[in-house]
Symmetry: C2
Subunit: 389 residues, 2 copies
Amino acid sequence: MTKAQIVGWGHTAFGKSEHPDTEALMAEAVAAALDHAGITPEDVDGLFVGVFNNGFSKQDFQGALVAMGDARFAHVPATRYENACATGSAALHGALDFIDAGRGRIALVVGAEKMTATPNPEVGDILLGASYRKEEADAEGGFAGLFGRIADSYFQRYGDRSEELAMIAAKNHANGMGNPYAHLRKDFGVEFCNTVSEKNPRVAGPLRRTDCSLVSDGAAVLVLADAETAAGMARGIGFRARAQANDIMAMSRRDVLEFRGARMAWDKALAEGGVAIDDLSLVETHDCFTIAEMLEYEAMGLAAPGQGHRVIREGITRKDGRLPVNPSGGLKSKGHPIGATGVSMHVMAAMQLMGEAGDMQIPGARLAGVFNMGGAAVANYVSILERVK
Amino acid sequence: MTKAQIVGWGHTAFGKSEHPDTEALMAEAVAAALDHAGITPEDVDGLFVGVFNNGFSKQDFQGALVAMGDARFAHVPATRYENACATGSAALHGALDFIDAGRGRIALVVGAEKMTATPNPEVGDILLGASYRKEEADAEGGFAGLFGRIADSYFQRYGDRSEELAMIAAKNHANGMGNPYAHLRKDFGVEFCNTVSEKNPRVAGPLRRTDCSLVSDGAAVLVLADAETAAGMARGIGFRARAQANDIMAMSRRDVLEFRGARMAWDKALAEGGVAIDDLSLVETHDCFTIAEMLEYEAMGLAAPGQGHRVIREGITRKDGRLPVNPSGGLKSKGHPIGATGVSMHVMAAMQLMGEAGDMQIPGARLAGVFNMGGAAVANYVSILERVK
């Protein structure tokens, strides 16, 4: 187990925010996190900031923005990370390395994105910056187009799984009803999600609106401390394991349906943690699109390739199932403010382990898995979290 | 001393490159670095990629581009860092933390930028993404405008130092004559640099063209290994110390002439390394503008505030002086491909310590300082390097 622990967190509501920019979003989440962990900025040795940006704002150098929201951070070393939709996990890994290397005792991981101020067609183009543009930038509707192609290929190879995708959407929306931070708290039900309608049109390939996560604003913060410092604090959640595995960016150069990088990250993390997937109490996984969650069932070993549909059919990943997946509602219900997402997933898992998840709570949660990815399974991160105090 | 060492490097020519993008630039520098260190991609545990981007290319997620240039990196964890003009040092610190935390044995730090494909006015606006845009985006001519204001303030407080700025420019251009990677290898001399002319017009405030670094393409790579692995390799350069210190981003909220963050980073690094500035054999410092190098003389303790001009007048920082500063020619002569710069500075210092600096060589170089900054002394990094084998 690595040395750093999660000792607190902060989380803004996700959705269309009154905050005009990431600076304001981060300030709200940072203040909440300081309060939650019972620390002050003077205690903080490093700021690890995850923002995708890439055109959402002309303001770059966003590592320096945390101190603009609270000048007590003025001299704290700050660094920005970006790894597409896994930007938050990239910042987290940087902070963990910083503490595990003995460079500091307390670090903040700050993930944020302001997306709703940008017109929709531009949002799509900005997000395609996370695809291999030379070959993939022509996708209709941005990343939805890429995952639409993935869903198409999957259906061609393994059969039409539209209904199971709708079941995943419905599960996550039902779960999101219990999440006070979620963008879209509405229990749509399987039938609505499985029916193409004016309110639920096709977006790309077989994907309907309910198969896609939302464009949202939001920020999330994790407070990390080394084990010794954490021992004197109210909360302590350790990393039983953490792993990153990449895959080649261009989809033309791999069988994307393998989600090989995701599989490798899970294999590494489970081996490092000495646990099996069934030992986990819950998983927060990267459901940017419902087809992604289905492929991730296969990558995490819940089903053989092409059999992911069985996992949702059998109710395994429902909140009352053997392995609840996305009890928070996932990206589907929470929304997907790119830089915040990976941090938010860890916050949701940490809440579960501390028994602070309110209406989302999985009783007796002991070990939690988190899977966050950038691109279509290009940069893949898995954490296995466990409560240590 | 931290555990990781520099065991090899690669460096493209800086300037207007035939390479169309960062993907190609990185591929060239990475191949050179593998060769230089005598390793293969299979040996590499992590890729730490520094690219500023912010609009130079619509392709973001550039951590994933290294593997597009050499598919043997396909599954190696890769992360992108951005910290304005200190982006390269941010990636370096990430890689050092990774190795020092025991997460891997060999890491590549890859810094790159493709700037010359972007029209000049756009370049200025893109670079202002590293200023606090809410207050500073109106600067004429981009960052030159900001440093023009800084030079103006400095002259008002301490007297006109135009001639000494020209002496700094002339020194760095003379040094750059020996640097095969430099963008501009031309020995302009003090008189040319100190005379406003058609070929050397005013750019912003008192700054002339020769007071400004160049818009360039380029990539640089450092190979890092843990001490044990490094012991079996041809080269080994350790980090006697490394430090990062930030300052508040908005210039309205500090006395920018203090360069306080730069001073703090130097103080921390010298204390950690147990050395005085005069113990160093050379310094590579961030001369994005000549006024920056003068302020950095003061920040590194070579002169009291307002007395930086004496340092160049007395010849202290000339190649044959007591403490040669920018024997590589600095950003002035090399050019300033943003993401590559911090990495390049470390490559230049490492070459000196290994006695591989060719015409740039400072005889008997034993300890080298590197100062790289993002924004106007906002994110400040100092390394003290020493040869360990």
